[in-house]
């Protein structure tokens, strides 16, 4: 009989582990490289440069409105590759399961990973599963690593922002972080918000199709838009000026931020990007972002300046200005 929870046996390398792989994982990530069940995947790659990225997901809770740890883990690495301008190709998946995790939850999470991989057009070609005793992990942690091919002529780098560049933001901010926060155990109120977790590789492909020379791409995940812009200002040695009235925050999200004293500029996103583009190309790239269903609300939120290098300045709604600094300390742990 199939057990309804994960047992230590499932990570033993023995029969139970084998059944977990063949019955649950292989059917979802169906491809010949994975189902060969060798120690590693062997594949051909296109000519040119590769991008390689890894990220580990420990989000609490693992299920939240708009997604779960499964699609988050796939989209996260897909997006990290896309932010290098790469076409994501292959992923690895490492699962760390806590003894006692319900089999139904695992099935739901793995199915979400399968759907996310299919939506992003990537293949999961190798993987690993470990089970740790109850209390040694919190339900499920997932590592994903991925490789992607960088097209010729694409040189995206956080140090390439130049004075005059326009800054495109692909939509509303703070949806993911606030969703996780409101679902945390012990937080009584819950607002009608949902995570924005989504793959961005199709959006980036559309942008590159109209302009190969995107200067900087970033998905503002942990630390939010504020932290991402600070890192870019510092690495490029430029100033950044953004306009509060052009940065969109969903009304419900803004309400939670007001109540709890959070600045949405520092709250995580999982399906948004920032792009730095030369001014002559900005409108064309913005139009390309907006053609993607996930970028319909994209706007140019600011520009790069030669003034105040290393600093991000926000022009406020009432016409004042303030510095958007680096976030100090953890505003909210375990959001991804």
């Amino acid at each position: 009989m199939k057990p309804d929870t994960i047992l230590l046996d499932h990570g033993s390398g023995g029969r139970a582990a084998h059944r977990l792989t063949t019955d649950l994982l292989l059917p979802v990530f169906d491809n010949p490289m994975l189902s060969a069940l060798n120690d590693g995947a062997v594949f051909h790659l296109p000519e040119g440069r590769l991008a390689f990225s890894t990220d580990t997901y420990v989000v609490d809770p693992p299920f939240f409105p708009g997604g779960c740890i499964g699609d988050l883990a796939v989209n996260g690495t897909v997006n990290d590759l896309a932010m290098c301008g790469a076409v994501p190709l292959f992923l690895s998946v490492g699962l760390i399961l806590e003894e006692g995790l319900s089999m139904a939850d695992l099935e739901t999470i793995v199915a979400a990973m399968g759907r996310a991989a299919a939506a992003a057009g990537v293949q999961v070609v190798t993987g690993d599963t470990k089970v740790v005793p109850r209390g040694a992990a919190d339900r499920i942690f997932i590592n994903t690593s991925g490789v992607g091919a960088v097209p010729a002529g694409v040189t995206i780098d956080s140090s390439r922002a130049r004075p005059g560049d326009r800054i495109i933001l692909s939509g509303t901010i703070a949806d993911h972080g606030i969703t996780i926060l409101t679902r945390r155990e012990g937080l009584a109120f819950q607002a009608a918000v949902q995570s924005d977790t989504a793959p961005l590789n199709a959006m980036v492909a559309g942008m590159l199709a109209v302009e190969t020379d995107l200067h900087v791409l970033r998905d503002p995940t942990r630390g939010g838009v504020g932290t991402a812009l600070n890192e870019i200002a510092e690495k490029s040695g430029v100033g950044i000026r953004i306009h509060e009235d052009r940065i969109q925050v969903r009304s419900e999200v803004a309400g939670v931020c007001e109540l709890l004293g959070f600045d949405p500029l520092y709250i995580a996103n999982e399906g948004k990007l920032l792009a730095f583009v030369a001014p002559a190309k900005a409108e064309a790239v913005l139009a390309a972002v907006r053609r993607d269903p996930r970028g319909r609300e994209a706007r140019i939120i600011g520009e790069v300046t030669a003034d105040h290098p290393g600093r991000v300045v926000l022009e406020t709604r009432i016409g004042g200005s303030r510095i958007v600094g680096m976030l100090s300390g953890e505003q909210l742990p375990r959001i991804c």
Partner: protein, 364 residues
Amino acid sequence: MKHVEEYRDRGIARRLIAQIHAASRKPVRLMEVCGTHTMSIFRSGLRALLPETITLVSGPGCPVCVTAQREIDQFVALARCEDVILATFGDLLRVPGSGSSLQQARAAGCDVRVVYSPLDALDLAVRNPAKKVVFLGVGFETTAPTVAAALLSARAREVSNFLVFAAHKRTPPAVAALMAAPDLRVDGFLLPGHVCLVAGTQAFQPLVDRHRIPCVVGGFEPLDLLRALAQLVAQIEAGEALLENAYERAVTAAGNPKAQAAMAEVFTDVDAEWRGLGVIPESGLKIAAAHRGLDAEACFDLAVPDVPEPRGCACGQVLKGLKLPTDCALYRKACTPLHPVGPCMVSSEGTCAAYYRYHRPEGA
């Protein structure tokens, strides 16, 4: 949120700013008493829009910042007690005591939980009957009523493992102490809207009558602030010293009688030590004798040694508006939000932390 957006209108803001520029003649120092005002002033970039004649200084309005080091040490001692779950607002976690912060105590194995409401702490007690759940009651009149309500609810529901460590403080006695100080360098006070929502403007009327210093109660959106500042400047220029309410949509003379009743039922006024300011008569709220069974201070032995506050820290003068954070030798050097020395650098509403985040250093 639409209701909030209305109070951030650029056109109306411009008119108010022009009005302030036209009215302001003599150089004045205006103190915003409330930490939420400090944050709102920075977040809206309001300082740069005011005439050079107006200097805004921040007062002792961040409850975390004025919590005495000794009390932080007692919180840590409490966290180390067996079978205790300490429930606290997040801002307290990083406040340095003389030896450890609550965050360090948590890393060392103590059970310290962040909650967003004292009622969440009460739920925690219900779910963990074998533990004693102690809520750290830190805050002004704005938080004290909800703590009182949680405590009354615990009694009504007969939850015997819920306790409160009351370190609450009242704002009017602190403002009175500032007004009476011989070294006062403040020409007008922007009074805290949220405190007045509970306590009513009546709580501040005697102070204005006695000390003859202009006071205006203000709200927290940019237009609320601008309007309050415009009224304050108008009073000063006219040579008046009144208590005005520029936050009428929320604040009345009488305040919130239910909240006041809950506080009166649960707490009793005591002399309290304010970090940086010293002991201020009848400025603290401790749990009244009738509720002794829910008073953590009565139920645990929390004797801690007296340790002097860190040398060189100017938090005391910052809290009185005598110094700006930038005048402190430790600011941005030994004292940063990641490694705070003084309490004003810890809480997000602390004056030094707000300066650190938003203030551009000279020449940068």
